[in-house]
Symmetry: C2
Subunit: 259 residues, 2 copies
DNA sequence: TCAATATTCTCAAAAAATAATAATCATGAT
DNA sequence: ATCATGATTATTATTTTTTGAGAATATTGA
């Protein structure tokens, strides 16, 4: 491990489960000499990616907060998505959480969420949290619309044994069904008692593969409400996709103008 | 510019004002050959710090969202501060925004904020946004409690000409007054029509220099309310400081146990 | 004060990044 | 379809950095 990967390797050790590290511990875990880690950490601290915590330990630094804001203000998916989430929550008329998730690094990550004012629960899909790719409506919709090449690569990497073959086939069928229907509805796959309804937000050209979801108490919605929520989610998702398409085309034109 | 500073230099160009860059543009701006920038960008994309946007342009990537969550879950100031902000907002009984800010990189940055349900305005202090160090109650409180050495260094770097001398003296007096009173109250220094009331959250040992603030419509609060809000902010801030002290001591002990 | 540990410094060796160029790959226009 | 244009990657000798081992120094707690 050297160069940039050294920095990355160090940063990636700072997880929610292990948020504080001493330099000797980092050195041992990464297998890199302490003197080198000290230098690495010094650079990271100077740039705000780490900061000194209690005593001789370090934790993630405020630079991430700053960059996150920058992203919140500029990422088209987040910028265009937030008002849509707000509308969805307002029109759901049931306690619920609306959210926007995307494919990232072999998993699914929520990039924006909004809860109705009176919602007594929270979804496990929380902004910034990587979630499994094959469970929950949010993830399944994304998986269903992943480019074939990427999907196959994921299947490969998953390391399928013989009896997994059948499962993969079942999954393919389910995903084909999701593509056909245009939405996915599940219950208790992630959070017990909570149901998810998700629709795709796809922009092939821009490489955007995302999904818009509502999470609500499964027991709290009857069949009629469920239909209404599906309609709400599907139409919000396509509105958002349309909006993104416009932004994308505008951005493309702007680039050409510059060039 | 080489090594880590290259990566940093590239990332730092992605600001809210200039969120998308092409490689040639990055190369020209940084003065680094295009082939090198391509390699740098490739590494950053692979690690999620950048991602490809429209056409040949790049923007900040989702890794920042992930790290930001990690920080939200683990940064003691944020973790301990958020429930306090919630309480403050609930007990303010006026439309307001409560927030927590800290010193960062020569400026002041908000790290957490919460608005009362019916608040029709927003403060310029928004999570992740660097703000000036000498304007607004939030910043002044932090400046007033900065270690002397750091303060003097900042004054130096500010590049004081002759007539600035007097201003610096006035500032020193004002800051001494803030230290004595234990809070700072200003109006329309950042946002026209908005008043700020701030109290310090200081943990010398842990290097924490922060402030807790309420922002409300200046015209909407009479003298009695103002006093009440000051009391609220001051007591919330000292509660928070106390909480942080406990956490810090616990963390220090834990470190020693490991070692 | 001392002892223990964290951190920085030094410097020769080694590895890795660099930059110029060539080659390849997309993309949009004709 | 083909071409032209620009984006991106590969190649490679060179040079610059980084690296790492240990020494030196600072910091901290007893």
């Amino acid at each position: 491990m050297a160069g940039f990967s050294r920095f990355l390797g160090v940063l990636r050790l700072f997880t929610p489960d292990t948020p504080a590290w001493t330099v000797p511990a980092l050195a041992e875990t990464t297998g890199v000499p302490a003197s080198t880690v000290y230098r690495t950490v010094r650079d990271l601290v100077a740039s705000g990616f780490l900061e000194q915590a209690a005593e001789a330990s370090y934790r993630l630094g405020p630079a991430f907060i700053e960059f996150d804001r920058s992203l919140r203000l500029t990422d088209p998916l987040v910028v265009a998505g937030r008002p849509v989430l707000h509308d969805v929550v307002m029109q759901a008329h049931v306690p619920c959480v609306a959210m926007l998730a995307r494919f990232y690094n072999g998993s699914v990550m929520c990039v924006a969420d909004e809860a109705a004012a009176d919602t007594p629960f929270r979804s496990s899909y929380e902004r910034g949290r990587p979630m499994p790719l094959v469970r929950g409506s949010t993830s399944k919709v994304i998986l269903a619309h992943l480019p074939t090449r990427q999907f196959n690569k994921l299947i490969e990497n998953a390391g399928l044994d013989n009896k997994a073959e059948a499962k993969v086939e079942a999954l393919r069928t389910e995903l084909a069904d999701i593509r056909k229907r245009g939405f996915c509805s599940t219950a208790s796959e992630i959070d017990p008692g909570l149901a998810g309804i998700s629709a795709p937000v796809i922009l092939k050209d821009a490489g955007i593969v995302a999904s818009l979801s509502i999470v609500a108490h499964d027991a709290g919605i009857d069949e009629g409400q469920r239909r209404r929520l599906i309609l709400l989610v599907v139409s919000a998702a396509s509105l958002l996709a349309e909006d993104l398409r416009h932004r994308y085309e505008a951005a493309t034109k702007a680039t050409q103008k510059v060039a």
